[in-house]
Amino acid sequence: MTTAAIKNTGIKKRRDIVFPIVNTCILILLCFTTLYPVLNTVAYSFNDGLDAVKGGIGLWPRVWSTESYASLMRDPAIYKAFWISFSKTILTTFLNLFWTGMLAYALSRREYVLRRFITLVLVFTMYINAGLIPNYLLISKTLGLKNTYWVYIIPTMFSCFNMIVIRTYIAGLPDALVESARIDGAGDLRSYFQIILPLCLPVMATVALFVAVGAWNSWFDTYLYNGSKKDLYSMQYLLKMKLATTQNQASNAANATADALAAAQKSKTTPVTVRAAITVVSAVPILIVYPFLQRYFVTGMALGSVKG
């Protein structure tokens, strides 16, 4: 072997190694910057409330305490609220995927004569906003959904953004697939459910994530429509209320002279730790479900095999 040859292969090899190393370094660095605030929040959530008022907590609690979590969990209402949130998330996600997926398929068919009209009408919904009060009147008075469970489901069945995302994905699939189904005599319903839908798992998983996270995190619907129905509180609403109550203890005193001041002074939890605990409590269920969805869009599917 001549030195030149060694050198040559060396360069080639190095090129193949350099990129993965640099890439890995960049990604690890990115992980640190995004992980830090998360771990910091977890540290705050396990810190003593009064001590946390001083700030300056890093990645580990300074004075260990689980009181912030305990204060959330002690209220039996939270368990009921969890089930409300859980069930509405599942239902909303399912209905959303069902309708949005079909719609996306229909609007991806270039031969569909209503395609342009419907697309236009739907796309505009992303930009027009009638304002809060008319929407409120529609849902609470006209449709009578106030103080019902269905107010969580019915107004959230469709999102144009998600439809576009799915449609774009479908448009990227080889046309031949649908055409071949057509030749076999399949109608659009059958070709969507039997051929297109299975191919759309990655994008469906993505949209499911978007919808589920949205439904899980929403508290505004409870606030608008079910604020006076304790049995229908969603978990996010309840958690938000816990935080607001903790925050309120101090400012309440504006009215109350000494009474409320005394109350604020001795409470064991403070807004900063309660807020951190709430963040963790609401994020954990999503993190548990996440890997199951992530499988589909990170790993992807072997399109080639379907084609073959």
Partner: protein, 556 residues
């Protein structure tokens, strides 16, 4: 057995006091309640709500505020049916303007509602001032109605200093703004760093969002007035001349002083950008020596310090004034202006705050009766103090008292959820001052209880300062002006101009304080010029509203 007897006795007395309820046995009803601030739902077996349900036949379905207050209220108004008991928090004006509440005056009489009658006639209440222009009473104030003797309690605006700075000054408390900053300068010269090595911030000015009062409000107090919000009123003038003060010549010495201190390094530029969280951090670490604030605003930081027994780093309030020399050659608001200290007003009534009763309620009459019943002595004791023997006891002097344990559990939110009816109590009218037997209506102000809960450090400090209670650092409260405190006036009709007026101050004052000393006069002139049109609108509006309060007959 004794308990049952006692309960029966109370029940009998209540029934005797409320003939209307006795006439028809109280059929159980559910009352919907909206609270204009966030709160915890009471437990299912809450002691006090159970008592109300058992004795008065009323259970509550309470909704607490979760989102934006104004928005929520407006949606409730759009509904076909409003909450039976409707508390609008700090925006009750919107409800009053929407005409959805009953007029209490139609239901109140000496025979039917004796407790409300006495509440509005035999106390510090001036009924005329609570009425709307067309003579209606939508809301009975939730705080400040004083029976018998007023107990002064301080929880409001002031300049503050860490107590250890007062120790350093050999227990001499500054009286003027010059003495105050001079002391801070001397302290920092002697001790530049806090215990953890961080350099001290001599003076902090919180400017975040609605807490801008720390930046805007001090001048009126330096001028010898209590908290009128953002105007100065000449209370000796029968026409109650009213001015904005923040852009007047007599505000200039204060901001000039801040400008100087900024360049001496006492005030950090970060003070203008810090949020409330960071402010509390700094206070709780003992990094800030002094500030202007309201005592209720930073309770959390104080408790964090107390929790670690760092009492010398907690804060002592001090009512500062200008020195006459500061104002030399500067026109005062009026001739013979009284430049003596008046930080505390006597008996401020929390006007327009509390429950209104919805017109759509099934039985408004019964709700008025409920309010009346809850205002009876027996129920007031139950709501404020609790149940005798469980929540308080009668001590050897025959006075109402609480053990340390009984007192401390009242600030445990879990205990409150199970034992107090705070959601109703805080918005319902209540008695303040003293009972006929001399006890304080509020347990927090009962002298025995206050003394017992004072820390040893504070006791020693107070002794050195020659005071028994913190209120003694202030002058005697002055008589409340006939219009109340001007910050209570609803600025709704001039909202957009008022908001712009506020924004201008938040924008300019930090710029003026942190600008170079050479530019001070130019900055000040530019600031006042921009403010002028809005100040005029605001001052004129406030003046008009004050006159409406003082001379309602002129506007009828």
């Amino acid at each position: 057995m004794r308990k049952i007897l006692a309960a029966l006795l109370v029940l009998a007395m209540v029934l005797a006091l409320v003939p209307a309820v006795m006439a028809e046995a109280p059929a159980p009803i559910t009352v919907t309640v909206f609270k204009g601030d966030p709160g915890d739902q009471p437990t299912e077996d809450n002691k006090m709500y159970k008592k109300i349900a058992d004795e008065l036949g009323i259970t509550f379905e309470i909704e607490f505020l979760a989102g934006d207050l104004n928005q929520t209220i407006n949606l409730k108004i759009e509904d076909d049916k409003q909450p039976d008991l409707f508390d609008g928090g700090n925006s009750a004006e919107i409800i009053e303007a929407a005409d959805v509440l009953i007029d209490y005056m139609e239901y109140i009489s000496e025979e039917k509602t004796p407790n409300i009658w006495r509440h509005l006639h035999d106390t510090n209440v001036k009924l005329d001032q609570l009425l709307t222009e067309d003579g209606k009473l939508y809301i009975i104030p939730n705080y400040g109605v004083t029976y018998n003797r007023n107990i002064v309690s301080y929880n409001g605006p002031s300049f503050f200093l860490q107590k250890k700075v007062i120790e350093f000054n050999e227990y001499k408390v500054p009286k003027t703004i010059n003495e105050y900053f001079d002391l801070i300068e001397r302290y920092i010269a002697a001790n530049p760093n806090a215990d953890d090595g961080t350099p001290y911030t001599g003076f902090a000015i919180l400017c975040e969002d609605w807490r801008r009062f720390c930046l805007i409000n001090p001048v009126q107090h330096l001028m010898g007035r209590p908290n009128d919000g953002e105007v100065i009123v000449d209370v000796h003038d029968p026409e109650y001349a009213t001015w904005t003060f923040v852009d007047k010549d007599y505000a200039k010495p204060y901001y000039k002083k801040l400008n100087e201190e900024f360049h001496k390094g006492l005030i950090s530029p970060d003070t203008f950008v810090m949020n409330f969280e960071q402010y509390k951090n700094e206070l709780a670490n003992g990094h800030i020596l002094g500030m202007f604030d309201q005592a209720w605003d930073f309770g959390e930081a104080t408790s964090a310090l107390q929790n670690e027994k760092r009492y010398p780093e907690t804060f002592l309030p001090m009512p500062l004034l200008y020195e006459a020399s500061d104002l030399e050659g500067i026109a005062m608001p009026s001739e013979n202006w009284d430049l003596s200290e008046h930080y505390i007003n006597a008996g401020v009534i929390n006007r327009d705050r509390g429950f209104g009763i919805a017109k759509t309620a099934d039985d408004p009459e019964r709700l008025v009766q409920l309010v009346d019943t809850l205002l009876s002595d027996e129920w007031q004791i139950a709501l404020q103090w609790g149940i005798e023997g469980e929540d308080w006891f009668t001590d050897e002097n025959g006075r109402m008292n609480m053990t340390k344990e009984q007192y401390e559990q009242r600030s445990d939110s879990e205990w409150v959820r199970a034992n107090k009816a705070d959601a109703i109590f805080t918005s319902a009218p209540k008695k303040a001052g003293t009972m006929d037997n001399g006890n304080s209506w509020s347990p927090d102000l009962q002298p025995e209880i206050r003394d017992a809960n004072l820390s040893d450090y504070d006791k020693a400090l107070y002794e050195k300062l020659g005071i028994k209670q913190i209120e003694e650092l202030f002058s005697e409260p002055i008589e409340l002006a006939p219009y109340g405190e001007a910050w209570q006036i609803d600025k709704g009709p001039i909202d957009t101009d008022y908001q712009k007026w506020l924004q201008l101050q938040v924008e300019w004052l930090p710029k003026i304080i942190s600008g170079s000393e050479a530019d001070f006069d130019a900055n000040w002139a530019a600031f006042t010029a921009e403010m002028a049109p809005y100040s005029e609108i605001y001052a004129n509006f406030m003046h008009e509203e004050i006159l409406k309060q003082v001379y309602p007959e002129r506007y009828q």
